[in-house]
Amino acid sequence: MQPHGEKLIFEYSRPGRAAFDQWPRVPQDAAGPAGAPTRPADIPAELARTEPPFLPEVSELDAVRHFTRLSQLNFSIDTHFYPLGSCTMKYNPKACNALAQLPQFLGRHPLAPDSHGQGVLACLYELQEMLKAVTGMQAVSLAPMAGAQGELAGVAMIRAYHRARGDLARKEIIVPEAAHGTNPATATMCGAVVREVPVGAEGDVSLEALRAAVGPATAGIMLTNPSTLGVFERRILEVAEIMHEAGGLLYYDGANLNAILGKVRPADMGFDVVHVNLHKTFSTPHGGGGPGAGAVGVGPRLAPFLPIPLVGRDEGAYRWLTERDVPQSIGRLSAFMGNTGVLLRAYVYMRLLGRSGMTAVADHATLNANYLLARLIRAGFAAAYPDRRASHELIVTLKREARELEVTAMDFAKRLLDYGMHAPTTYFPLLVPECLLIEPTETESKETLDAFVDALASIAREASEDPERVRGAPYTLPVRRLDDVRAAKQLDLTFKPAASAEGLTSA
């Protein structure tokens, strides 16, 4: 009865309808924006558009109602527990949003002079300093716009470093087999050759394999620590030694920094470069896909190569540093200054946490993960690394359930949605079959974790008593399980008015 979905905005469209109050007055028509404006005469006809674009013609209420209703179809941190592993879905403080949206910050043009930006530059400068403090690095650039771009910057710097030393043979980037997909993809984007090294049964990189892999072609290694397996790479100092002795550098993928904030610094583990996912550790919102910010920090060897712009301070005044200041820079990664608004949110968040808050984050994120691990084991679930401490996240494998009951990790995940909780990350890392990578974050309470364990335990019972029920999930969401194969085979990527006649319209 209650409509499950929401029509497409195009289906609300009627020729002639509009949110007229949003129309600017066109200078010619002093009478107010009623009809069609006169087309500028000085645009030659052969360069002009002839057909109006297919955009919806709706009233302001139509648009507001449509997008408000659409929003309600989402799970989000503000409404649901969202233990998506590797994503650090913690509470996004409302203050961070409000303060990053102060009108002067929002209105500032990227090319406005420094005289009209000392406020924002002060925040960015201090953010650089704070990131140096938590990573132990010597210099930081805020330019990268997400983790993957931070990786790109990092690997590009490593390659620039070798190149600057005339060491042109170093083309190989080593990644552990459990690495996040962006790691090998980044290596490729940087023109490097990817070499995978295996991970041992306990989740540590195989040092033997690593020793065998390194050599004069080695540019560096990309690691996250704790790794994507939810455990701390215990022999990290040996890894660093092997790499450095081989002439390679170490790249730290900061996606998991939340686990070690104030506990151990990447620089002290021997890393030469780190990127920090500010949209994870420092709680800028993920916005249904982005934006993020992937600041990079570097040790002394890589400092000359940092991407621009940086923020510098001369005699008490802040200013952008460019090619002129950083002549060996790997260059610019965006048209302007990365995701400044995201950086401001991270800045506010870090100031709210403060020094002690940093450590408290790692403490309680880790406490939550280990508590979940203990309780889930007790509830009969198989941990991927039962003999290891969990870091800020943990992996459960549903191998047995998949084999014996034919209820997969995907089924568990979908069923969890019916319990009002977002699913953990599934099928990543690829190394662990039928896995759930669970990251509770420090901002969730014990009661929420208990409810999550209860839900998983209840699904496990359902899986043995009524497996079809689990396989058919979800039942209570706006849609039932979606056909991904159809999506990829019968591509429907844009709305065409005709298509709806063929019956694909929302009911």
């Binding site: 979905g5 929401e6 905005i9 195009f10 949110a19 949003q22 600017p24 500028p40 645009i43 360069l47 002009a48 002839t50 109006p52 674009p53 955009l55 507001v64 997008f67 659409l70 309600q72 503000d78 998506l84 996004n92 009108p103 043009h109 925040c123 716009m145 997400a146 993957a148 590009a156 090998p184 980044t186 984007m189 023109g191 100092l237 151990v264 916005g287 249904g288 896909g289 982005g290 934006p291 990664l333 965006s334 048209a335 200054m337 995701n339 403060g354 020094r355 309680h364 880790t366 406490l367 203990a374 977002h422 420090e442 901002t443 309470s445 058919g472 979800p474 849609v479 039932r480 929302s506």
Partner: protein
């Protein structure tokens, strides 16, 4: 501690369940030698009230000058509804829609966005965003090279009328894969690429041709001629466009032969200037190239009950599936900006967007008139333009612009560092947000600055 809900009792019970004596013990796998203390470089905590006051003071110190800056980021009216809705927790605090059934709001929004971008650009498909216009341009070059299976070269023709920062970013990002950006000179009279300039590449192995419309100077390129040249040689055409302009200008899909990859900066579509970001890059292409496109793509499909729904699709292009052989390493994109832009475009509609474009254009014409009436100021080019113009002065632009800034007028971007051949020149822009009074204030400030400097 801020944002941490654990009571002392919670911690006790949880440690007990774990079987650990302290939280500290949970970190016992970290080598003791490298354990660190509290980061002393981070100041002690501030309350929300305190940081609020600090941020407000800092924001106030940045001021709200009257700005005529453009150059790839434009001050437009943003309907209040856009961000009121985009910052709703359900959009703001959701992750990438990996669990499609629990993310239909975001997914459907992206599907609507893809439809709008495809239509605006005149292409068949669009992705769910890239980081910004500059990095999207880099991705476009890489994609064009992938598309062009005939070419052995990695040489891409990039006119010098393409935004200098876009060229810089593209160079920085694509050089690792060996791309060479061949800079094509422009005509300093007209401010655009003369189709004749292509003659020198005749017979060379060119991987792709890029065209920005309007170009960095605001001047309209002869897109049909350029595009036609490329298509005749089976060279893919990359278009870089301003989405607002597409309400008035011929979409790249309709350029002669049609563009193959279209990218641009989405900021004009409801995104605040915010010192440079977050913005979003958009990308559209022909259906035949969709598998070469980087970034997420949403498709409409059916659920097990036969009801339509939305999901991420064609993921085999992406890093989390294809890893080292993905079309790009991009993962997190600019999702929330896309939500805002979709709301913006819905509120504007085809006619509203046309009015915005027309109003911008008219204001810039007014600006051009007012400034060129000031002695010592002249238009650099006499070509058709859209909403942005280059002005030349009879003396260096930097001190003049600095004098204006002191009066809280940001008059434009000094072109000397980018295009020294233009002499004393700056790029100025007026959008629909500017009134005749604003333009008058600008013109008279310029008049005064020029006469003062004369005196000095």
């Amino acid at each position: 501690m801020a944002f941490i809900p654990h009571t002392a009792a919670d911690v006790r019970e949880m440690l007990e369940a774990i079987g650990a004596a302290s939280i500290e013990e949970l970190f016992d796998e970290i080598p003791a030698s490298i354990r660190s203390r509290k980061p002393s470089g981070v100041p002690e905590t501030l309350g929300e009230m305190e940081i609020g006051r600090l941020m407000r003071e800092r924001a106030a110190s940045d001021g709200e000058p009257l700005s005529f800056l453009g150059a790839g980021a434009y001050e437009h009216h943003i309907p209040a509804a856009v961000w009121a809705i985009a910052t709703r927790g359900e959009f703001y605090s959701a992750y990438t829609p990996y669990q499609a059934e629990a993310s239909q709001g975001t997914l459907q929004t992206i599907y609507e966005f893809q439809t709008m971008v495809a239509s605006l650009t005149g292409m068949q498909v669009a992705n769910a965003s890239l980081y910004d216009g500059g990095s999207a341009f880099a991705e476009a070059l890489l994609m064009a090279v992938r598309i062009n299976r005939r070419s052995k070269s990695l040489k891409v023709l990039v006119p010098s009328t393409v935004h200098p920062h876009y060229r810089a970013a593209a160079g920085a990002i694509t050089s690792h894969q060996g791309l060479r950006l061949e800079e094509m000179p422009y005509c300093t009279e007209s401010g655009r690429i003369l189709p004749e300039a292509l003659a020198r590449y005749e017979g060379e192995d060119v991987a792709a041709l890029a065209i920005q419309q309007p170009n960095f100077f605001g001047v309209l390129e002869d897109v049909d001629a350029l595009s036609d040249w490329a298509h005749r040689r089976r060279i893919p055409v990359i278009a870089v466009v301003n989405p607002t302009s597409l309400a008035l200008l011929k979409p790249p899909g309709a350029w002669r032969g049609g563009a193959d990859v279209v990218v641009g900066e989405g900021q004009p579509l409801g995104i605040p200037l915010s010192s440079g970001g977050p913005y979003f890059g958009f990308m559209a292409t022909r259906m035949e190239h969709v598998r070469q496109m980087p970034g997420r793509i949403v498709g409409r499909t059916l659920d097990v009950a036969g009801r339509p729904g939305f999901t991420l699709t064609l993921q085999a292009r992406e890093q989390h599936i294809r890893r080292g052989r993905a079309t790009s390493n991009i993962c997190t994109n600019q999702g929330l900006m896309v939500t805002a832009a979709t709301i913006y475009l819905s509120l504007m509609g085809p006619r509203g967007l046309e009015r915005v474009a027309t109003a911008c254009h008219a204001r810039t014409a007014e600006l051009l008139g007012a400034l060129t009436r000031v002695p010592g100021v002249r238009a650099a080019f006499r070509s058709p333009y859209f909403h942005e113009v280059v002005l030349q002065l009879d003396r260096p632009a930097a001190p003049v612009l600095a004098a204006l800034a002191q009066r809280d007028i940001l008059g434009g971007v000094d072109l000397a560092p980018y295009y020294p051949e233009l002499g004393a020149a700056f790029l100025a822009c007026a959008t629909e947000t500017k009134t005749s009074a604003d333009i008058e204030a600008f013109a008279s400030a310029v008049r005064e600055a020029l006469s003062n400097q004369h005196a000095a």
